[in-house]
Amino acid sequence: MQALAQYLIQTFGLPVPLSVLSPLLGFMGGVVVLTAIAVQAMYLIWLERKVAAHMQDRLGPMLVGGWHGWAQSLADGIKLLLKEDIVPAAADRPLFLLAPLVVFVGSFAAFVCLPFGDRVIISDLNVGIFYIIAVTSFVVIGIIMAGWGSNNKWALFGAMRSAAQIVSYEIPVGLSLLAAVMAAGSLSMQEIVAAQDGGIHRWFAFRNPFLFVAFVIYFLASLSEVNRTPFDIPEAESELVAGYHTEYSGMRFSFFFLAEYANMFAVAAIAATLFLGGWQAPWGGGAPIFGVIWVIAKAHFLVFVQMWLRWTLPRLRVDQLMYIGWKVLTPFAFACIVGTGAWMLVFKQG
């Protein structure tokens, strides 16, 4: 944003001083991304229902808004806004009302450092990826608030389980990203993408076998961070009825729903940026405009894989989930780090 602000002042000679314009632009950028992600989340909801339908030999939404029911999630959104927002009598009122906001903030704050093009990024933090991992832990606090606030035995069960799950899967996520950061040599997202320049073989996922394993580990662990099948224990319909958002309805429920899909896209975009060369075209380079298309295409492919997994795989039990988290993914992530380090020593490049 800093560079964009200077660029605007030089060319158009705006009277406004730099220190005011760049935060203002940052704010406007935030609003733009917020609306873009909200629309994106609604599109993803529609896409999920179509993918699920076609995988289950049926059609999915077809009526609302013409061709293949494209306006279905718009209609759902309006319905949810108009629906009565019930707050249970015995609920812990402030916690109950604040929980969706905290979850919403947690999942949207990660979009600040996601690069969508050569200079198309809200603020290229030097500690980019580290900030993203830190901010997503807000979601856990929001979930615990929701579980405790709704004063319902099942919701509390769901909140406890999801807190334990996300905390224990942050470790494989962090370690597998560390492997990619080692190869890139910097935490800033733009530099990571720049390090993957020069064609598909230079992307971290395909650069050395350890990094490819790290990519797979990251993808699995991020599935669990976002509570998607096969790790969707907290909202295990068949056991915990609906997990931590059992008591929510109307607008507040749509916050949780939107946050889940935004989180899904965020996780996929991070994987695309760190392992699949962000806005780089497969043949290297990639002008700013096409960069955006490349990132979104890669992220959408990964989101499609997440949806594909959801509609084929059954759900894991809690102890199996913890076993995979601690005893399978974490050791393999350590091995990837050691492997990448050795690979860099031997071949002198990431």
Binding site: D57, A236, E239, V241
Partner: protein
């Protein structure tokens, strides 16, 4: 409504949390309330409460004539109404010593085996839902719709038919039925491989069901568990083969038994797999029956008025859920003096507390799905 209940204080420990699963719960297959004593995730004891769907079938059966009771038998195990009808009707026919025409026997076998496939499809679909996979449910319903279209052609109803009467069947097979059934039988083989592909061979599904809810063979026999639950524990016992009724001895089919491929013998996976293999066997029976079905008048042996001689008879048939026993006592009038039904689901549910000791809450859901109970039949 506060229930006056004698809570045995023997094992109520302080830190134990008593969970109420049901009667309205997504995975209790009907109105069943389970009182579960848990210690964290581990289940200490389970106490089922039934009776929410009790519709006094046995009292009705005493005040209605024999043919009027048949629609009530439809509503016991509403997943396999044909088999319920057959169980009751064969009991009454044994009392009256009626010999039904050949064509009726073949129609009854075809219709009951198709209903067995439909019932197993439901249990396969909902078991996928209990474990968390959504797609198998819709695959199962695609085939089930084809079976329902055939039944609708025959007797006008999709689930509760009142089709098998004392001495015959209500309608003869319509002309399109044989072709539709043969087409279904040929396509169904491919669908079973599809089901195995999506659920049976899935590593997570095996992880969730192998070595869970193990029912040893001797406990199964002592609890009189029957049907796929008993065969899942390795006991090769099927009434259609070991105590042949109707014309099942003319068909060539084998009895699948749980061998503990993915865990120990008698775990959830075995019970589930026995049902999948059984669908294949039923398909073979229907295929053979369709080829050998003779011509004839289906209303020939239907008596004007059903009035069995004084006496009683306990008749057992093999329904998809297990061994349905009908104990008919007649006093010579047109109304039965007493009709007692022993339901296989009632028995399977009484073993549930035994299976769930020491399991986790997610396993309780898996075990309920594996014993495949329908509360309509449990509560009667």
């Amino acid at each position: 409504m506060a229930q006056v209940e004698i809570v045995d204080t023997a094992d109520v420990k302080t830190q134990e949390m008593v969970l109420n699963m049901g009667p309205q719960h997504p995975s209790t297959h009907g109105v069943l309330r389970l009182e579960i004593g848990t210690d964290g995730e581990i289940v200490r004891w389970v106490r089922p409460h039934i009776g929410y769907l009790h519709r006094c079938f046995e009292k009705h059966a005493e005040n209605l004539t024999y043919p009027q009771v048949i629609p009530f038998t439809d509503r016991m195990d509403y997943m396999a109404s044909m088999n319920n009808n057959l169980g009751y009707v064969l009991g009454v026919e044994r009392l009256m010593d009626i010999q039904v025409p050949e064509r009726v026997e073949y129609i009854r076998v075809i219709v009951c085996e198709l209903n067995r496939i439909a019932s197993h499809l439901i249990s396969f679909g909902t078991y996928g839902l209990d474990i968390g996979a959504f797609t198998p449910f819709l695959f199962a319903f695609r085939e089930r719709e084809r079976i329902f279209d055939m039944f609708e052609m025959t007797c006008g109803a999709r689930m509760l038919y009142n089709y098998i009467w004392v001495g015959g069947v209500s309608h003869d097979l319509p002309d399109g039925f044989i072709e539709a059934a043969t087409a279904f039988v040929d396509d169904f083989e491919k669908s079973i491989d599809e089901y195995n592909g999506i659920l049976s061979g899935n590593k997570i599904f095996i992880e969730r069901t192998a070595n869970v809810g193990i029912l040893p063979a001797d406990m199964a026999i002592n609890y009189n568990v029957t049907g796929p639950n008993l065969r899942g524990s390795g006991v090769k016992w099927d009434l259609r083969r070991d105590e042949p009724y109707s014309i099942y001895d003319r068909f060539e089919f084998d009895i699948p038994v749980g061998r503990g491929e993915m865990g120990t013998v008698g775990d959830c996976w075995d019970r589930y797999m026995v049902r999948i293999w059984e669908m294949e066997q039923s398909r073979r029976i229907v295929k053979q029956a369709l080829q050998q079905i003779p011509k004839g008048n289906v209303h020939a042996a239907i008596p004007k008025q059903v009035r069995p001689p004084k006496g009683e008879c306990y008749f057992r048939t093999e329904t998809p859920k297990g061994e349905l026993g009908v104990y008919v006592i007649s006093d010579g009038t047109t109304k039965a003096y007493r009709v007692k039904v022993k339901s296989p689901c009632f028995v399977a549910l009484s073993v549930l507390p035994e299976l769930c000791k020491g399991a986790m809450i997610a396993d309780v859901v898996a075990i309920i799905g594996s014993i495949d109970i329908v509360l309509g039949e449990v509560d009667r």
